[in-house]
Amino acid sequence: MKSAQIDPVPSVAGTTAVGAVARERPPAAVLGPWPWIRRNLFASWWSTAITLALGYVLARWAVAFFDWAFVNAVWSVPYNAEGVPDTASCRTAKGIGACWAVIGDRFRFILFGRYTYDQQWRPAVCVVLFLALYGISALRQFWRRELLLIWLVVLAIIGILMWGGVFGLPYVPQDSWGGLPITLILATFGLAVAFPLSILVALGRRSRNLPAVRALCIGYVELIRGVPLISVLFMASVMFPLFMPEGVNIDKLLRAQIAIILFAAAYLAEVVRGGLQAVPTGQYEAADALGLRYWQKTRLIILPQALRLVIPPLVNTFIGFFKDTSLVLIIGIFDFLSAGKLVLSEPAWQGFSSEVYLILAFVYFCFCYAMARYSRGLEREFGAAKRR
């Protein structure tokens, strides 16, 4: 390198001398679990006291939970002649042991709702397709134009599988769909459509040359932000059909889907706008000076930087909306959560809400935690390019 040539003095005074005493590593920090525990948990008498007290509470709780969830749990119940489960053993164990029999007996209903029983392999395949789609989309080597095509094809297949009516698959009306596929459909379509829409809205809101577009975007965001999601869902399900001409009826799920898209897009737009504002003006100017057009500049220079900056709040909003899809239960769509609730209203399984909710929570947690982990990975990867 050039600087090495024009800089002869330090190579004698500095580099060599330092090289002689240079060590491979900085002095090692105290390693191992015991010093760590000593330093962080038992550093002083009050630290020790808090550690012991919390440890006691935690241990008691863990033991109690283990007893309840495993040792005293009832894993299955007998069925009577009509096939109705006899939950007497669960009722006697109540308070002492979990009744996992409710999950064993009703897991297909929780997963797939009232979908025609012997056709439930179809929503099951859909769930697997969704998971595969997420997996592929998460890998950066697949971030190409073809990915969009894959999405469209997979979503079409999911539509065919769910509705049926072609290829010898019996038709299943949308009213009887339910469970996890509904949650995944609402969340996936919702965020996949809302995200690009939100970018357009954010760009529109920052537009200086198009005051009408700008006003429209501001109005849209402020209007949506000003009302609760529940009321938007109600409007979509109850009021919207009133304004439609006679005989025209849009599917209820689609209406809820549109409501979720519009709602999520408004929130995401503000997140994206934050990112756009954080990109230094110099970047816009450099792109302009090179002769890039507006959309080239936006796509190649501004958005890649803006979106990287807002990965944490973006994923935060994604996770929030994944869970908010459960609000569709108030307009009578049976998503994953409402299917669970429905099980609890059956006479045989009334009162075993802890078990059902625990399982529901666990599934939601798996999806949300996967998103969170993935976003952290992305941040690390993008951060690596910027670090010295």
Binding site: G282, E285, A289, G291, Q305, F382, K386, R387
Partner: protein, 265 residues
């Protein structure tokens, strides 16, 4: 030649209307920031191949003036004609001008999410529609010229300030502009890096490029400038050869400015 097809107008240093035509003409240009009158009746002409250094105290409007030349700032009155094309609200004319005018900024403004090579190939590929391979070869030739080809696959943040600024020069040159604008290119650099950037600029000046350079580097001005413009409070106060400006200032304002920067050195 295929290249001539890919880069319309590139070979035509003389186009569109003859060699005698000035590269840049400013005709009674005025600009305001709110109530502040930042450019007052700026009229000047810069010939093709001319190297112009613009100096003046901070806030004198020199940056604003060169930023008007590629319309990073809009002038409100008067006419600016670049390479025979008048700057108006017409986007096609603006595109054409920006293709022919390269700019180097005080803060480098490299794209941090792209490698050095990608920074250099972006505009040729997207604006000039050059095939990627050809753009990469072109970029490497310019990176060699600014003496950092070995950094091509690093990211801007991994380079020193001086190296980044040299990349910024290479990036602008990859568009094969007819005119280069420099907006205080060494002001954000540590002293030991100023020389490497100035050396690059001197080499560029020797190729006959039309250059307009806002800078406080008076040594650079003496060495390469054909002409020095001194601005103060939004006006062009004096214009002349470096010898005239530095040895024989006519106005009190220029004398004061020179005494201040000479004291600083």
């Amino acid at each position: 030649m295929s290249e001539a097809g890919a880069i319309p107008g590139q070979s035509a240093q003389t186009s569109p209307s003859g060699a005698g035509q000035p590269a840049i003409v400013l005709d009674r240009v005025n600009k305001w920031y709110g109530a502040i009158h930042v450019l007052r009746d700026i009229s000047t002409s810069i010939a093709q191949g001319e190297r112009v250094v613009v100096c003046g105290p901070s806030g004198s409007g020199k940056s604003t003036m060169i930023r008007c030349i590629n319309r990073l700032e809009r002038h409100e009155e008067g006419r600016i004609i670049v390479d025979g094309i008048e700057l108006t609200d017409d986007l096609r004319a603006l595109d054409q001008i920006r293709r022919e005018v390269g700019m180097v900024f005080q803060q480098f403004n490299l794209f941090p999410h792209l490698t050095i090579l990608e920074n250099c190939t972006l505009a040729p590929v997207w604006v000039r529609k050059m095939p990627k391979k050809e753009a990469e070869e072109l970029a490497m030739s310019y990176l060699r010229r600014v003496r950092i080809p070995e950094q091509a696959h690093k990211y801007p943040a991994q380079l020193s300030g001086g190296q980044q600024q040299r990349v910024a020069i290479a990036r602008a040159l990859c568009m094969r502009p007819k005119i280069m604008l420099f907006d205080e290119p060494t002001s954000a650099l540590d002293p030991e890096m100023i020389k490497e950037v100035l050396d690059t600029m001197i080499e560029l000046a020797e190729t006959g490029m039309t250059m307009v350079c806002v800078t406080h580097e008076m040594g650079f001005a003496r060495q390469v400038a054909d002409c020095v413009i001194f601005m103060d409070r939004g006006e062009i106060v004096e214009r002349g050869t470096p010898a005239q400006i530095f040895e024989d200032p006519r106005t009190e304002r220029l004398k004061l400015f020179l005494s201040q920067i000479l004291r600083g050195h």
